[in-house]
């Protein structure tokens, strides 16, 4: 199989001029989040594959991180003193790639090849092919342990860079997260922030109907974390909170979100976990999002 987009060979992704720069302006951050959502809808429709519900729930979190919080340089993506980010819910790659491309890690047009044969942009992120990706994720319950290792490494090296990880709420059913949560608190990793995209749905049903997570904040608190329960769609409030430093405990941010956020017929609906919108639905979604 060859790809009409890529001409039958894997292409290397290169940094480009950012569509949007890092900003503290609330209106600008909100505008970027809209651009990310538009890109997600177009990308998933082009690929006819993807996890649109979770992509739209995690969008504001990723926007706050990449356009305000993270100290990173897209032109030098492996600079040793960069902040680290791990997308543990790796299936929401369309949102991740959209954000990375708009931030200048690679050309936004490259995202058009998402999941096409030989594209570097697999359905789950691959650090060996995509600048800005730190860990190959996809199997759930892997991101937090890796992030604990990163934060521990910074401590050992005496470095001040920070580590952020975004977890799906459903993936907290994997026990490895709690192994890592215990270790992070034990090691006093104040340089680590875990953000839970709390959209309350997993693939087939609600998290509470499947294997109850609540009281989630209490669970992290009991493990010794500094816990914040926030609106996961308030980009500037997220940016402000995530930008703050200084705790001697790892920080858990339970970001309350809605799956399919911003599109009326998708929002808070479990069946949009990985359903692909039709051409007509795309038109409606783009109109609603652009408002």
């Amino acid at each position: 199989m060859t790809s009409p987009i890529l001409g039958g060979a894997e292409v290397a992704l290169r940094p480009c001029r950012p569509t949007y720069e890092r900003t503290s302006d609330a209106a600008q951050l909100a505008e970027i989040a809209i651009a990310v959502r538009l890109k997600i809808i177009r990308t998933i429709h082009a690929a006819q594959l993807g996890h649109v519900g979770g992509d739209l729930s995690v969008t504001d979190i990723l926007t706050a991180l990449y356009f305000h919080v993270l100290d990173i340089d897209p032109a030098n993506p492996t600079s040793p003193k960069r902040d680290r980010f791990v997308l543990s819910k790796g299936h929401c790659a369309a949102a991740f790639y959209s954000v990375l491309s708009l931030r200048g890690f690679f050309e936004p047009e490259a995202v058009d090849s998402f999941m096409k044969p030989l594209s570097p942009l697999n359905g789950h992120p691959n650090r060996r092919k995509i600048p800005g990706v730190e860990a190959n994720t996809g199997p759930l319950g892997h991101g937090l342990p890796i992030a604990v290792g990163m934060a521990t490494g910074a401590r050992i090296a005496g470095e001040t860079w920070r580590t952020f990880v975004v977890l799906g709420d459903g993936e907290l059913q994997e026990g490895s997260n709690w192994e890592a949560a215990m270790a992070a608190a034990h090691r006093g990793l104040g340089n680590l922030t875990a953000i839970v995209d709390r959209n309350r749905f997993q693939q087939g049903a609600g998290t509470e109907a499947t294997n109850q997570l609540e009281p989630l904040a209490d669970k992290f608190r009991a493990f010794g974390w500094d816990v914040h329960d926030v609106d996961g769609h308030d980009v500037s409030a997220l940016a402000d909170l995530l930008g703050r430093t200084g705790s001697d405990r790892p920080r858990a941010v339970i970001a309350r979100t809605f799956k399919g956020r911003g599109v009326s017929f998708m929002e808070d609906k479990v069946d949009w976990h990985h359903k692909v919108p039709s051409a007509e639905q795309v038109e409606i979604a783009l109109k609603e999002l652009a408002r």
Binding site: R127, G141, M150
Partner: protein, 323 residues
């Protein structure tokens, strides 16, 4: 539990617990390079990391009894610029954290050195839950993961030293069952050392089986049979050239490994020769969950000793019509 040892015979060669060589080499590397860190799962004693912890308390990350987290932490440390040696009992490192080894280390291509302590049947009496015999098959199935099993203390030192600078994901066994020194050339990554030349049959052995293969070759030699002994210290990538040369020149191969008899060394050699130069083979390994017994008893029980290797070689020569 102290390391098991075969009942010492008068005049027998001294034997070694390779964890000693491992720890000494790791400490020596850590003195020279601040990026070297050790990660373990409540296994400071069984991984012989006590002296490392004493000298480098901040560079010993004990995550407790949590192998999946342990391997993920290893990958994260590598991302942070460290060179992590992740140490745990073989069965739990390879089995409990297989997916982390695959996704976080091998697929992510992080230079994590996964050290399987006390592999094979080292925990004899503790039973099959504690026997690390599936690891060769499991780890060999993971792309981009180097799989090594040094055969004695010298080779352990060489393997550890090479692994620290290799910049790639590596799984290596560190033997605890006491074995004699058998190598003279240190460790050469990806190369099979020919320990004895021979023309009638090849014995390809790995790790703790190498000294037994040498003993079998000696016995065969006394009976006028010339056996070539190969030390396969790197199982993956396999030194195909040396195996195929041995297949061509001796026409028969016995493999011996302290691991299940499928998917490991025997499987690797069989896959190679079947496709390029088919020769009769005997694959010696562990064919079943073990009964109760100490390491030496179990090795004898499964024919993983000089007599068993000798018998397998003779059986091959018989079907070839040489004997």
């Amino acid at each position: 539990m102290s390391a098991p040892e075969a009942a010492p015979k008068p005049g027998a060669a001294p034997t070694f617990d390779c964890r000693v060589a491992f720890a000494e080499e790791l400490i020596s590397l850590a003195r020279a390079d601040a990026r070297i860190v050790a990660v373990c799962n409540d296994s400071i004693g069984s991984s012989n990391l006590g002296a490392f912890q004493k000298e480098f308390p901040d560079r010993l990350v004990n995550v407790g009894i949590a192998e999946q987290n342990m391997v993920g932490v290893g990958a994260g440390l590598a991302n942070a610029g460290m060179i992590p040696f992740v140490c745990a009992a073989g069965p739990f490192l390879s089995g409990r954290a297989t997916e982390q080894i695959k996704a976080d280390c091998a697929y992510s291509q992080y230079p994590v050195v996964l050290c399987a302590m006390s592999p094979g049947l080292a925990y004899g009496e503790l039973g099959p839950t504690h026997h690390s015999i599936e690891d060769f098959a499991w780890m060999r199935a993971i792309p981009d993961l180097t799989v090594m099993a040094p055969a004695d203390p010298d080779e352990t030192r060489g393997a550890v030293r090479w692994a620290a600078g290799a910049g790639r994901p590596i799984y290596m066994r560190i033997p605890r069952f006491k074995i004699p020194a058998v190598t003279t050339g240190g460790f050469t990554p990806g190369r099979i050392a020919t320990l004895t030349e021979g023309s009638d049959v090849t014995i390809a052995a790995i790790g703790t089986m190498v000294s037994r293969a040498l003993e079998a070759a000696k016995r065969l030699g006394e009976a006028g049979i010339s056996a070539r002994v190969l030390n396969v210290s790197t199982l993956k990538p396999l030194d195909e050239e040396t195996i195929l040369k041995a297949a061509r020149e001796t026409g028969a191969i016995v493999t011996a490994e302290e691991a299940v008899s499928g998917g490991g060394l025997g499987g690797a050699v069989a896959e190679l020769v079947a496709q390029h130069h088919p020769v009769p083979m005997r694959i010696l390994g562990v064919p079943a969950f073990a009964p109760t017994g100490d390491t030496q008893f179990l090795l004898d029980h499964f024919g993983l000793n000089a007599a068993g290797i000798e018998a397998a070689a003779r059986a091959l020569l018989k079907i070839r019509g040489d004997a």
